[in-house]
Symmetry: C2
Subunit: 283 residues, 2 copies
């Protein structure tokens, strides 16, 4: 089977099986999920590992792309394989050959051969972790955003509540027009270079809340958000906007105005990637 | 004041103060403590940061050198500075300019102007962390040695007990003859290139024990050892030898024979650097 054809269609062909992998990664040392020539990426490492283990190099499709520095506790990837390898063997062999910052947590053949890690998604959950301290332990620095300014927790909780439900999140999407097609969350290299109609920026948020967690390295504020899809930079922009509200730079009520403006420049800053974790994907 | 002279003598000169810094670091992305041309090291980063903050570039003397990949929870460094900078300002300014994997935990002027982070040491404590699991979380992989073989914990405890007290630890020191002078723990670049009399390999161990710790990423076995000094690779060789005893590859009683042999080839393997933490230094 021709790997190049596989990587374009991402579909299972006769005699092959569709696989579903669940994986965790520390995104710090990678240039995000998506393959880029000459740069280490999660998708590229996974494709190369599949090649070493099975001799086939399908391009694994992720549930969505994560940016540079963003982590995953439960990313999901799908791809076709012809090799009749037992699932447990594939899992062990991939973990032996992948770099330690990427671990396969589960490997299974998809029941439905049309399963696609991105198209089949029902909901995704992200977490954003903020350390409330002046100083961050060297062993924590890759995994949190250290934010020591005073914060009004009520304003954070109220802001998070406003995001619930169906909204046009255009104001909270990356503003770079060249990146508009990324907001489809299903663009590939080709689509990004071709002008495509701007996709809908309406998403539905099912859960949106702040939690506090005590750790040996200090108190964490964790924002957890579950929705049917997320625009590029959306979680990081929601967090930046809520932190602006928590600091009193922005009234909580102004978030309604930001939604209405449908302009990235109205919302708050983009919180750094290192605090963001793709928590889980539902199908 | 001439930085080159300072870096050779490591002594405070008239008008300068001797400083004592306590620092933590994630050693993964550094080539160990000691400055090396063209490579990132903890000592080099600290010297450069001192230069940016104070305009002076004394070479900080550590309590001992840590190897590549080895971490510190409480390394101590000393150096002279002429600048009359308040301690709190030095701490904050260094943390602003140092890379996030290195954090200054405390900064103070030494009461005794002859204080030297290495020569003044009374005791040092190291920890070695082993993850008892098949698979290591990507967020833990830099900080533990994953060891999933069955282990006889009694053999670990008995082995650790044998190391207590004063012994000639030559069998547990790095065997590379060119590195012999490193075992002085006070060699500098010059000393390492010149043939110096082989220093004593006798050390006294005050505490040596295994602890178990449960974490969200699995059960840890932690070896904690406190002594008046440690030879190059000594803790990692003690751990490798104890793991060999725990796996039944080596009888616990054979450790007495290893001591007597005074030969590196008799002891167990060198456990990887990533599990090792310099825990604290006493003066």
């Amino acid at each position: 089977m021709n790997a190049r054809i596989q990587s374009v269609t991402g579909q299972s062909e006769p005699g092959s099986h569709t696989w579903k992998l669940t994986l965790a990664y520390d995104g710090t040392d990678f240039h995000g999920w998506q393959v880029q020539p000459g740069k280490p990426t999660i998708q590229g490492e996974l494709q190369a590992a599949l090649g070493r283990v099975t001799g086939e190099t399908p391009l694994p499709q992720g549930s969505g792309r994560t940016d540079a520095g963003v982590h995953a506790l439960g990313q999901v990837a799908s791809f076709p394989l012809s090799a009749p390898i037992p699932a447990e063997n594939l899992l062990l062999a991939l973990n032996r050959t992948l770099p330690p910052p990427i671990r396969i947590l589960a490997a299974e053949r998809a029941q439905d051969p049309t399963f696609h890690a991105r198209h089949s998604t029902v909901a995704k959950t992200y977490e954003y972790r903020i350390l409330r301290a002046e100083k961050c332990s060297p062993f924590f620095a890759r995994y949190v955003y250290t934010f020591s300014w005073p914060l009004n927790l009520d304003a954070l909780h109220q802001s998070a509540h406003i995001f619930l439900g169906e909204h046009d999140f255009r104001s909270f999407a990356a503003s770079d027009p060249d990146l508009a097609s990324r907001n489809l969350e299903n663009g590939n290299e080709l689509m990004e270079r071709v002008k495509v109609p701007v996709a809908s920026t309406v998403r539905t948020i099912f859960a949106s809340e702040w939690q506090e967690r005590d750790t040996e390295d200090g108190r964490l504020l964790v924002y957890r958000v579950r929705g049917n899809g997320f625009l590029h930079h959306m979680v990081r922009n929601l967090v930046g906007t809520m932190l602006d509200a928590g600091r009193g730079r922005l009234g909580v009520d102004e978030i309604h105005r930001i939604f209405a403006a449908r302009s990235r420049s109205e919302a708050g800053f983009t919180a750094p990637g290192r605090g963001l974790f793709l928590h889980s994907v539902e199908y």
